[in-house]
Symmetry: none
Subunit: 197 residues, 4 copies
Amino acid sequence: MMPRTKGEESKRKLLQAAEELFAKKGFQSTKISEIVANAGLTQAAFYLYFKSKEDIFQQMIQDFDQQIIDLSDAGKKVVELVPNDIKSYVTNMFIQLFTVLGKNPNLTRIALQHATESDQIRKKIVEQIANNMSNNQRFGIVKEEIDTWVAAEAIVAVTERLVNRYLLTGEKTEKELGEQVARMFLSGILNHSKSGD
Amino acid sequence: MMPRTKGEESKRKLLQAAEELFAKKGFQSTKISEIVANAGLTQAAFYLYFKSKEDIFQQMIQDFDQQIIDLSDAGKKVVELVPNDIKSYVTNMFIQLFTVLGKNPNLTRIALQHATESDQIRKKIVEQIANNMSNNQRFGIVKEEIDTWVAAEAIVAVTERLVNRYLLTGEKTEKELGEQVARMFLSGILNHSKSGD
Amino acid sequence: MMPRTKGEESKRKLLQAAEELFAKKGFQSTKISEIVANAGLTQAAFYLYFKSKEDIFQQMIQDFDQQIIDLSDAGKKVVELVPNDIKSYVTNMFIQLFTVLGKNPNLTRIALQHATESDQIRKKIVEQIANNMSNNQRFGIVKEEIDTWVAAEAIVAVTERLVNRYLLTGEKTEKELGEQVARMFLSGILNHSKSGD
Amino acid sequence: MMPRTKGEESKRKLLQAAEELFAKKGFQSTKISEIVANAGLTQAAFYLYFKSKEDIFQQMIQDFDQQIIDLSDAGKKVVELVPNDIKSYVTNMFIQLFTVLGKNPNLTRIALQHATESDQIRKKIVEQIANNMSNNQRFGIVKEEIDTWVAAEAIVAVTERLVNRYLLTGEKTEKELGEQVARMFLSGILNHSKSGD
DNA sequence: TATGAATGAGGCTTCATTCAT
DNA sequence: GATGAATGAAGCCTCATTCAT
């Protein structure tokens, strides 16, 4: 994990600098000159490791993308379980979502902003949540009248925004947010169950 | 409403073109050359009506800003009413919100994206909703344990996203979305009332 | 002299405005938009009276040029006279020079600055003075060892500068400057004569 | 003195080209495209070394400014000496002045033309000469009736013009001009002394 | 006699990218 | 593995000038 060679170290520095700048100023507004300055290198060095500005962006997203996929896969496995305590299950899922996105606030911001890419990533997350929810709808856990795609979009939008607004600023923790959101959505989405509050 | 002079017509065309492009590609990525091309004018003409790219943006936002303020004011008046049918009241509020933002999907997208400005506008909307909700909290209508600011941010985030995802594409109407969202949030936010479904 | 028609009046206003601006900011830095603004007209109107920016400049210079030629001619006539009082004659010449240039401080400034033109006008003035002086050299009035062309250039340079520095600012009058300059140059240029101080 | 690195060499070429063009065509009329063309570089290269057109101008002036200050300081030291041979002293001063300005004919022209800056630089030179002269006036060397500031302005104007007219063209040397000018001004400014011609 | 509207050409400046060392 | 130097392409903006009315 720790870079061995000087080259790997330089590349890491560049990725790090780019991540911070992209998050702070957006992709377009971030200049290569700024990235290399923040990384303590020259502009030419940048092109030793990346083919273009777009390239560094892609490489940056990839890792993040993988984490999302992992979350997604984890999600799939949980689907089959019919939880005793639905409420805590859902709350947990929210906390998980906040945790993944909150661990990479910069990447979250970047990924969900960059036009083309964001749609890809967002789509993956939304898809995973929607499928999950549809499944639970078949089990009678999620209300019939809920449009699971709309709900999934809503959940992602809320999570994304609250990460930026409260997690990034340190005003609230993953747990607090997860609980708040669960509370807001739960009884709207789930059927009245004995496990409700 | 219809511009009388040629100049006014040209300015309108430029604003129109800019709005579409800003919404589609973002402020930074939109080139003045594209705006004027879409408006059927030359680049020099642009500067007959706007001092800079930032200027056209500001002028564009102003109108929208006013509509938001109007909505805000309308909202304040409704606060005092203790509705018999809370559910339909809230649903209505959501439909209203979708309608205002949905009427200006481009502007919504632009305003809520452009760094500095977005914070201003978003803040106004969120503030209005949060205050409204806090009021209702005092009346015992909204649950104690809800953080109204978090909830308001959530509502705006959801609305914004669904407008872009479903209203803009024509896949759903304001009414459909308003009802869906009300359904999702309602029982999470409101106390169990006889007016619930 | 007073313009009869509206057109003449407009043209006069434009010339007036241009003169002031050219003098204050130079030819290049003065924009047509500024000229017409100062004249209370539109840019299109400008082209009713002048073919181009260069054109208004030329027309402006012409009048001035004529005055210089007139001074020149007057100078020639005086040459033949062998004055009794050389000192007062020279002083007078200086006062005259200051008067002509001082009457048109703007034009002086403009004419002597605008690259191409200035050389023409300056040349005329210098030539006239140099010839005059050479003549007087033959009469033994001006010292043999004086290079009359150098002296003439010097005289014009001094006059030009002092007009700008002291006449334009109102700090000194033509008379004062004429006398000062005469005093400075006289005994350097003229042979010791009984009319010296 | 000779630039070591390629970059320094390029910067030097740009300064050189700019100097010539500014002198020939004035600041405003000189385009950056012309400067870089004359320096054999591209327009982008210009911005490797200078922040703007104004910037290259400032850097150019600085050196010159320093030389003027040095001359000024040298001048101050000489003030105290009551020279035996005033004439040769003054002649020398003129030769010195011609030499400094003549060594940088372009800069002289530029510095004394560019509005804001020129006033600064000209003022410095004029001030130095005027003070010098006032001092000598107290010693009875310079005539009472001479306005030393007017005289100083005159001297600078003459020097400036003759440098451009005769030194730049190679028609006359510093020595020749210095002597001519000394001759013209000397007896006008100085009291009749045994050291006069 | 004048104006409202528009434009072509060109200026300054920025930036991602390349290449020789 | 890195840098100093340079560039091409493109962006924003200005300004003298034109033309229909």
